[in-house]
Symmetry: C2
Subunit: 353 residues, 2 copies
C-alpha cells in the first residue's frame, strides 16, 4: 500500500461517522514500516476526534513512536469539546502527518500544521476531498449554510392537486430517500402554510440518528400557533421565526426568534448558531423567496407518475424571478415508481432565454 | 437458425421501413431447407409490400416452391394501393407461412389467413410483436389515433419565463430527439396561442423523411390568420380547425375544417382520415383539454436545468382535472444538459390522493 491507498482508507473510516452533527467527519490511520497499526474515526459530536481514537486503539502508545499518521482533515490545535489533537500527536512521538485537507474553520485553519512543524513533525498536505464534508466546507468558505430545496411534484410540475390540501405524491422508496436527505441536514425550514396544511412532524424516522435537524417554522404570529400540531409531539429542537413576541410560555425544546424575517436574516441567524446546512421543504412561495434572493445551492426534486393538470398548485410559485436560475449536473435516480432529480446551482452559465 | 431466429430477423427487416406513413412496417423472409433465400421489407407507402419485395429478390421465382415464408404481419388479401399478397404467395408455391401478428385492420384481419388455408398453405400464427407498429395497432383496436403530449419544462415545471413570450428551454440533443418524435407521428396539433407566440414551422428537419406529419392548428377565426406566419413557408399539408368559415382562398396544401371543435371532434376527424397518431405540442391549456377528456396515452417531457420560479407559465394549465391522471413506466434518458422523461397512461391504478 502507498500513501494514496492510505488516504483512501482514512476516507472510508471517516465516512462511518454518522453522528458528528456540526463537526466534520474525520478518519485517521497510524502506519509504521508499511504496517497499519490502528484506524480510528470521529464517531459522535462532543466525543473523541479521529486521531485520538486511532491512538487509543494501539496495543501500547509507544508503538506510535516514529510512525506516520494519515488523517483526512488537519488535526485541531484548540480546546473545543476535547483537548487539542496536535499535542497528543507530538506526545506520542508521531514522526510524520499526512493531511487530506486543511481545516477551513478559521479557529483552527493552519494552526494545527504550524504546531506540528514547530514540534519537528514532518507534515504533508494534500487537497483531495473537495466533495467530502460538503456543508462544513461550504459554511466556512461562504459564511452561511449550504441550502437545499426539496419538493415532490407530478410530471406536469404540480405539488398539490387542490390548493390548501396536502397531496401525498410519492411512494415508499422516495419517502425513505427524503428521510435520508433530512438526516444529512442540520436544520429544516418550512413556511406557515406548509405548517398548517401539511401538519408535519419534521423528524427523521431513521435508526441510529443521534442528532435530529433543528425544525424551523417561519410564522407571522407565534401567538396563533395551535399547540396540538404534530410538531410538538416530538421533543427535539423547534425554532419559531415569528414577527410577533410570544405572550405565553412554550416547552423547553421550543425557541422563539422575533424579527421581520427575510431569507438573508434567517441565514444570518443560522450562521450565528454555526448551522452549516439548511433543507427548505416548502411551501413553494417560501422556496421562491430564497431562490429570488439567489441563496439556493441544491435542488432535490421527486417526480411522481401523475398528472394533476388544471388548477393544481405549481412548484416554486409566488415571487417573480427577475433572472432565470441556471442549474448544472442534473442527475436522476429511479425510485420506482417515482424519480429523483438532483441539480446544483450553476454560477458560471449565463444564457439568454 | 430456428423459427424464433427467423421471426427476429423479419422484425429487424421490418424496422428498416422509414417511409411507410400510415401503413405498418412489415418484414418478410423466404426460407427453404434451412437456407435464407430472400429478405424483404415494406419500404414506402404506396409501393410493394414486404412479401412481394422478398419474392422479387429470389434468383428465380420457382425457388419459392415448397419454401416457408416468415412475415411479421398477416399478408393482405385485398386490393389497396397494390394487389393482394396472398395471391402471389399461393402462385409462388409457398408451402408454409409463419405470421408474427394478425392484421388488426378489419378490412384484412383474418381474411389473409383464410385465403392461404383455403389454398392449402400451412399457416402458423404467433403473437409476438405487441409494441411494434404501436400506433397502427392502437388505431384499429381503439378506433382513434394514439395521442402523445410533448412539452419542455424547467425543473420547477414551467414552460415559459414570461407569459406570452416563447422561452427556448432545451439544447441540441433534446431538439434532435423532438424532431425524431415528430417524425414518428402522422399529425401534429397546436393551439392558437402557440401558433401566434411560437410561430413554428412544425416540420421535421431530418433527412430521408418522405412523409411529413400533417400540421394541425386549432384556431378561432381562420380569417384572422396572418399569412406571413412561418408555417406557410413549407409546402406540406396544413389543416386549420376553425370555428368560422374562410372568406378567402388559401394555397393548395391548406385544408380548412369548420366546426365548434372539441378534443373528441378532432379525434373523429383524424380517425375518418385514417390518421393513427397525433402529437400535441402545445399550448398547455390545449393539452389540459385533451387530458381532462381522458384522451392522452403518452407523455414526452424534456426537463431543462433551469428554474423560472415566480410567475412563469406552468406546464398543463387551464382546465381543472376532476380526477388525477395516473401514469406508468416512467423512463429517463439523459440528453445533456437536459433530461427526457417518457410515461404512459396507467388505466389500472386508482389511488386516492
Amino acid at each position: 500500500m502507498d500513501s494514496k491507498d492510505y488516504m483512501k482508507l482514512v476516507l472510508d473510516a471517516a465516512s462511518k461517522g454518522h453522528s458528528t452533527w456540526t463537526n466534520p467527519k474525520v478518519g485517521a490511520v497510524i502506519v509504521k514500516n508499511n504496517q497499519i497499526l490502528a484506524i480510528g474515526h470521529h464517531e459522535k459530536f462532543g466525543e473523541n476526534h479521529a486521531e485520538i481514537n486511532a491512538l487509543s486503539k494501539l496495543s501500547k502508545l509507544t508503538d506510535a513512536k516514529g510512525a506516520t499518521l494519515y488523517v483526512t482533515l488537519e488535526p485541531c490545535s484548540h480546546f473545543g469539546k476535547t483537548p487539542p489533537c496536535v499535542e497528543k500527536i507530538v506526545q506520542a512521538g508521531i514522526k510524520k502527518v499526512v493531511i487530506g485537507q486543511i481545516d477551513p474553520n478559521p479557529i483552527v485553519s493552519g494552526f494545527g500544521v504550524d504546531y506540528l512543524k514547530e514540534h519537528n513533525v514532518n507534515v504533508e498536505i494534500n487537497d483531495i476531498y473537495p466533495k467530502f464534508n460538503r456543508s462544513y466546507n461550504f459554511f466556512y468558505k461562504n459564511n452561511r449554510p449550504l441550502i437545499t430545496i426539496k419538493y415532490a411534484m407530478t410530471l406536469d410540475g404540480k405539488i398539490n392537486h387542490i390548493r390548501n390540501n396536502r397531496s401525498i405524491l410519492t411512494e415508499s422508496a422516495a419517502y425513505m430517500d427524503s428521510q435520508k436527505l433530512r438526516s444529512q441536514n442540520q436544520a429544516i425550514l418550512i413556511g406557515e402554510n406548509t405548517f398548517k396544511i401539511d401538519d408535519p412532524e419534521l423528524t427523521v424516522r431513521l435508526n441510529n440518528m443521534k442528532f435530529s435537524p433543528i425544525r424551523l417554522i417561519l410564522i407571522k404570529d407565534i401567538n396563533q400557533v395551535d399547540l396540538s400540531e404534530k410538531i410538538f409531539k416530538v421533543n427535539s429542537e423547534i425554532w419559531f421565526l415569528s414577527k410577533t413576541k410570544p405572550k405565553k410560555d412554550f416547552s423547553k425544546n421550543v425557541s422563539i426568534f422575533v424579527d421581520d424575517w427575510t431569507p438573508n436574516k434567517i441565514l444570518k441567524l443560522l450562521t450565528e448558531h454555526s448551522i452549516q446546512s439548511l433543507l427548505i421543504e416548502g411551501g413553494s412561495s417560501l422556496q421562491a423567496n430564497f431562490i429570488s434572493s439567489n441563496l439556493v445551492d441544491n435542488f432535490v426534486v421527486y417526480i411522481a407518475p401523475k398528472i394533476f393538470g388544471g388548477q393544481g398548485l405549481p412548484a416554486i410559485f409566488g415571487e417573480e424571478l427577475s433572472k432565470i436560475m441556471n442549474l448544472k449536473n442534473l442527475q436522476v435516480k429511479n425510485l420506482k415508481p417515482d424519480l429523483k432529480i438532483t441539480a446544483e446551482r450553476d454560477t458560471n452559465v449565463h444564457r439568454n432565454n
